[in-house]
Subunit: 348 residues, 2 copies
Amino acid sequence: MNANFGADWLRDAGRESDVVITSRIRLARNFAGFPFVNRAEEEDRRQILDLARRDIIEGELASQMLWVDMNEIPQLERQVLVERHLISKQHSKGGSPRAAAISAPDERLSIMVNEEDHLRIQVLRGGLSLSEAFEQINEADDRIEARSDFAYSNRFGYLTACPTNVGTGIRISVMLHLPALKMTGEIEKVRRAAQRMSLAVRGYYGEGSEAVGDFFQISNQTTLGKSEHDLLEDFEANVIPKIVEYERRARRELLEKRRVILEDRVFRALGVLRHARLLKAEEALEKLSYVRLGCVTGVIEGTRVEDVNQLILLTQPAHMQRVLGRSLDQAERRVERATLVRAQLGGG
Amino acid sequence: MNANFGADWLRDAGRESDVVITSRIRLARNFAGFPFVNRAEEEDRRQILDLARRDIIEGELASQMLWVDMNEIPQLERQVLVERHLISKQHSKGGSPRAAAISAPDERLSIMVNEEDHLRIQVLRGGLSLSEAFEQINEADDRIEARSDFAYSNRFGYLTACPTNVGTGIRISVMLHLPALKMTGEIEKVRRAAQRMSLAVRGYYGEGSEAVGDFFQISNQTTLGKSEHDLLEDFEANVIPKIVEYERRARRELLEKRRVILEDRVFRALGVLRHARLLKAEEALEKLSYVRLGCVTGVIEGTRVEDVNQLILLTQPAHMQRVLGRSLDQAERRVERATLVRAQLGGG
C-alpha cells in the first residue's frame, strides 16, 4: 500500500469528478476443473490459490502485483483493504485459504482469490472512467485466461457461483456524490428510476449499507443476457451522465435560489470538523460530504477536494490506526480522528 | 437605553460571576386609595400613572430615570425591554395606560407601572449581588413611600393583587448558568432540592419557559410569613452558594475526568457559531451557553466571557433588529444573527 495512505483513484480525478467519485468494474471468474469455492475442499482451495498466484505473477498484469495471503496478515490490515474497496468484507474474514493480488503502488487492479468465485478481478479508478477500467480489466482477464481455462458454457457464458453473475460475470459500480439531490429530496426519483432499470443503489460501504454522507453506489444487478458492451455503453453514455446532470442542476438551483441554506449546511459541517474533539467515523463522512459539496460548488475556498477525498478514506477506523501506527480502541479513534481532521482542515 | 446595547449588569461581573449571571429583586407595591390594576377603570389607571411618574421623578431615584409610556413606543422597543429583563412580557402587550421607568444609562433600576400591581420595582445586577440590589431597591421604595402611601395591612403587610406576593411583596430571582450540572445530569437534584425549599426554577425567558442554554432562574415563590432579611440571607448565604459550589464541582470533575468530552462540547458549539450562516435565537443561546462554559473553565482562550454575555443579549430577536436599525423578518434575522455572531467570535 502507498506510504502516503492515498489510493491513486483518489488523485486521478477522472471525468465528472465533481459528482463521480469512482468507477469500478469487476469480473467473476472460475478456473475450469475445480468446484466452486463454497463446494471446494481445503485442498482444492489451496490449489486454486497456487494456480491464481502463478497466473497473476507470470501474466505480468501490472508492473508490480502484491500478493497478500489473507491468513498471514493481521485483521487490521485486512480491514484497511476493505476500507480501500480492494477486498470485500466477507473476504476479510479469513479462515480458509484466500488471498488478494493488488497492483502497486496504484492499487487500481485487485484480484480476490477464493472469495465467492475463484477470482474476482476488479479495476477501480477515479471519476467516470469505465472505458479505461474496462480496457484494463479486459487485459488482465485475457492474460490470466491465456494461462488457464475458465469455467465457461457456450450457452450461458462464464459460469459463476451465484447465478446472478453468470454470463459476462461483470459488475459495474459507480460511486456518486449526490448531496444536492439529497437536500432537495429528488434523490428518491433517482432511486426509483434506478430500480426501474434493474440497477442496485447502495451506500458508501456497499452491500446492505445505508447512504451515509450522500454517497451512492449504482451498479447492475444481473449480467445474463446483456453484452458487456451494452452494459458499459448504458452506464457511461446514459445512466451516469443523466444522474450527473441531475445532481449538477440541483447544485445550480441551490446556489441560485437557496444559497444561504447551502452555505449554512456546508459551513456548519466545516465548523464542526474544524473544532470537534471527538468524531465518529459516520459523522466524519457525513460532514466531509458537505465540505466536498462546498469545495466543488466554490462555496468553500482554500480547501482542496482531493484533501477532502483523502480524509474520507483516512478517517475510517482501520485507516486511523494505520496512520497512527498502533491499535486504538473506539474512544481513542474518536479523539485521533478529530485531531487529524482539525489538522487537515485548519481547525482551532 | 445604552447606545452600545449592553446593559450594565452584563459588565459589572459581581461575585461568583462564573456561575451567577444576574441577581434580581423586585417589590410589588400598590398605592393606597386605588383599586388593584385588574379592577381599576381606565381613569384610575391614568391617575396611578401620573402619581407614579411624579413620585419617581421627584423622588430622584437615580441620577436619570427614563419614563417610557408603553403605548407611545413601538412593539419592537417594548420587545427590547422584555429581552433586557426590564419589563415583563405581559407588560409589553400595551393597551391600557401603563409605563416603565428605567434608570439610565445603567438600567439597574426599573419600575413597571400598572402591570399586575401599581408598581413593580426591580433592581437587576450582575453576579451574586443581592445585598447591593436590596439596598438599592429599599432606597427606591422608601423614596416613593415618602411621597405616597402604599396599600398596607398591619396584619399581612403590603397588599398585592396576587396573594402569593402579599407581605413583603418581595421576589428574589437569581439567574444561574449550570451547564456542568446539566451535562452530568445532576441538575435534577438541584431542581428537586429547590422544590423542597419552595423555590421556583424557571428558564432563561422566565415564567413558563424551559431552560434553554442551561440558564436557570431560581426564585422564591411565596412572600408571606418570611421577613425580607430572612429570604435574602437564605438566598445569599445558603441556597445560591450551595448551587454555585455544586456547579463548580461538576465543572472540576468534567475538567479532570471527562475533559475531552467537555472540550468537544464546547468547541463544537464554538465551531458552529463561527461558521453558521443561519442561526435561530434558541440555538444561539444554547451554543453560547457552551462557549461561556468554555471561557469560564479556561478551555477556550482568547474569547472574553463579557463578549459572550453580550452576544446572549444581542442575538435575541428584538435586539437583532435594534442593532441593525431596521425591522427584519424571521429569515432575515437568522442570517443577520449568524453574521453578527461570526463577526464577534472571529469566524470564517
